[in-house]
Amino acid sequence: MEIQVKTYAEYLASGESPEILFWVGCAGSFDDRAKKITRAIVRILDHVGMKFAVLGTEESCTGDPAKRAGNEFLFQMQAMNNITVLNGYNVKKIVTGCPHCFNTLKNEYPALGGNYEVIHHTQLVQELIDAGKLKVQGGAFKGKKITYHDACYLGRANSVYEAPREAIKALDADLAEMKRSREKGFCCGAGGAQMFKEAEKGNKEVNVERTEEALELTPSVIATACPFCMTMMSDGVKHFNKESSVKVLDIAEIVVGGLKE
């Protein structure tokens, strides 16, 4: 059966209101690899029968990269425009596909008049598993070694360390930790608007350093929870020519792989 993705406007037109807004984010909307994560998240929402809406073409960048780069003007312009849309639909609860959107919506929008309950998709997955609504089994991942790379804006920035790990554990996978994990997690190199520029001069790329650390564990999967980490870690794996033996997958994709029919 085909999966239905409805916008907030479509919901309202049909006289219904959705339970949750899925904030897709720019990477999730435009980046080919991240679009697969977006579809995985939608599969999960659809699987549990949650009524979710997207903003579609009314969604716009949260302003996170502008703010981290020091362009507070542009950030606040984006934020206020988005808040107008969100408040216009009377949005209460948001799930995001990206830790940067999550952080910005949750922490930085309230001061500008945008107050919502915001969760990241890994938190939603954990909630659903805990509530018994999402049943997963090992499937292809059972007993496989998976290492999780902490996204800075989920981990240190917002102290979300366990939700992504719980999802991996629920799949009976072998969760292996890198030396630098949780509070000590080492950045992938994309944050703070680095994603959009060449790195400054140095002697190594940050993502290569991080991928090297992950590969030391000889995992079959490097799990991420952020579309930017996804790009950086995938590039890192390519750098070491390990694409055939090591996959980089988002927690949402791993969960979809383990869904019980």
């Binding site: 977006t38 780069a69 312009m77 500008l112 520029k197």
Partner: protein
């Protein structure tokens, strides 16, 4: 009043006066920063201060230096009880005024002095290992480029002075112990200085008295000198760690400050009927930070609190991959510039433009643009300093006042502005992913 009491009191008064003057200067410098509310949520603040400052919680992420540091810290605090006694002795010409605590059958005072000796020994041991880590085994974060010159000497001066001050204590006790034993007065042994007694046994009672006296004065002098050295040294953290942790940021680390001045401008742009509140004429409007006066008082307090341990830098992804950025250097530069501005004010009565600024003269754009805003430095800092906040404020100045962002970032800004995404994709294509199931 004896001559020595007079000398002591003069020393005491001048050292205290100098210390108070220094502290007021630091206070004035910190208050050059902009307002920031950090006295809310008192309960949480007391708790975090107890855990992180008093309890050294974050130090224990690295157990070896944490234990050695604990020796020095606890030793320092406890030995101050003995210093207090020395102060009383100095002022009133008494000798070991607390020795009345030696009760018949229970020599409490001797036990106290004995245990102080054990702590003093641990302090000496800790400092010696720290010296070795800095100068012989050269632990990476302790020998980096930004420590060359004064910072490196500063660290060694502190460690060597602490060792010397502790040694004067041992020698003083040993000299007295030797005389006591000779007169069969004090039977009980002191755990460390007893081993020095054999070396002193050839010296006359008179000579021993001079040694003990000299050590006493050395110790007193050392304490006063140390007190005033603090203010120009990274060692100031022993005082500022407490208020600095108390006033630390309690919000999630990912939440960056909201620039109210920008909010007013943006509101005025989006809504023509909005009238922004009148600007404060005392605080010139500036977006972001060009110089230390544009930072908040808390950011300036951070700079004075930094103990240059380099934990932040050793966790920084930019630094660890060879980039110029070092969060420790950000803090050291901020302090150095603030001191420079302070001296400027001392000299001229008020700040006179010296053609320099924190941005550019101290911290370069290349450093600023290497930051991934990952918060590793903030997480690592044992005294809850936030180098990232300063980095972002300096970036804000570069971008909003100087339009000096790297070209690629300017392209990203244009994309966000025109397409609502950091890449050049049309907003109308935002939902295309749903057709690709």
């Amino acid at each position: 009043m004896s001559v020595s009491s007079i000398i002591f009191l003069l020393l005491f008064i001048s050292a205290s006066a100098l210390f108070i003057r220094n502290i007021r200067r630091v206070r004035r410098n910190i208050l050059l920063g902009k307002d920031e509310v950090r006295n809310d949520r008192k309960g949480e603040r007391w708790k975090i201060m107890t855990l992180v400052a008093l309890g050294q919680k974050k130090m224990f992420k690295r157990p070896l230096p944490a234990i050695l540091h604990l020796f020095v810290y606890v030793g320092f605090v406890l030995i101050n009880i003995e210093v207090l006694e020395m102060f009383i002795d100095g002022a009133f010409g008494t000798h070991r005024v607390l020795s009345f605590l030696n009760f018949e059958g229970f020599p409490l005072y001797t036990y106290m002095i004995g245990s102080f000796e054990i702590f003093a020994f641990l302090v000496t041991f800790g400092c010696a290992v720290f010296l070795i880590r800095r100068n012989i085994t050269k632990v990476k974060r302790l020998v980096m480029k930004e420590l060359d010159g004064w910072p490196k000497s500063d660290a060694n001066i502190i460690l060597i002075s602490e060792i010397l001050i502790m040694c004067s204590l041992f020698l003083m006790n040993a000299a007295e112990l030797t005389t006591y034993q000779r007169a069969n007065l004090l039977g009980s042994m002191l755990p460390v200085s007893q081993y020095l007694v054999p070396f002193l046994s050839g010296i006359s009672d008179e000579g021993l008295h001079i040694i003990a006296n000299a050590c006493w004065w050395f110790h007193i002098f050392g304490v006063f000198a140390f007190l005033n050295y603090l203010v120009i040294s990274k060692h100031f953290h022993i005082v500022l760690a407490f208020p600095n942790v108390f006033y630390a940021n309690l919000n999630p680390k990912g939440k960056f400050t909201n620039l109210g001045s920008v909010t007013n401008e943006v509101k005025a742009m989006l809504d023509p009927t909005f009238t922004p509140p009148p600007a404060n004429p005392d605080q010139p409007m500036r977006f972001g930070a060009k110089d230390v006066q544009d930072l908040s008082w808390k950011q300036l307090m951070d700079a004075y609190t930094c103990t240059e341990c380099g934990r932040c830098t050793s966790a920084c992804p930019a630094n660890q991959t060879g980039k110029l950025l070092s969060p420790r250097k950000i803090m050291m530069d901020t302090r150095d510039r603030l001191e420079e501005v302070g001296k400027n004010i001392d000299k001229n009565g008020k700040f006179v433009d010296d053609g320099k600024a924190l941005s550019g003269n101290y911290i370069t754009p290349e450093e600023l643009w290497a930051c991934t805003s990952c918060n590793a430095c903030v997480e690592e800092c044992p005294v809850n300093i936030d180098p990232l906040g300063i980095i972002i404020d300096l970036r804000r100045y570069l971008v909003m006042e100087q339009s000096a962002a790297p070209t690629e970032l300017n392209m990203m800004f244009t994309n966000v502005e025109n397409n609502g995404a950091p890449w050049a994709f049309a907003q109308s294509d935002r939902l295309n992913w749903k057709n690709e199931f």
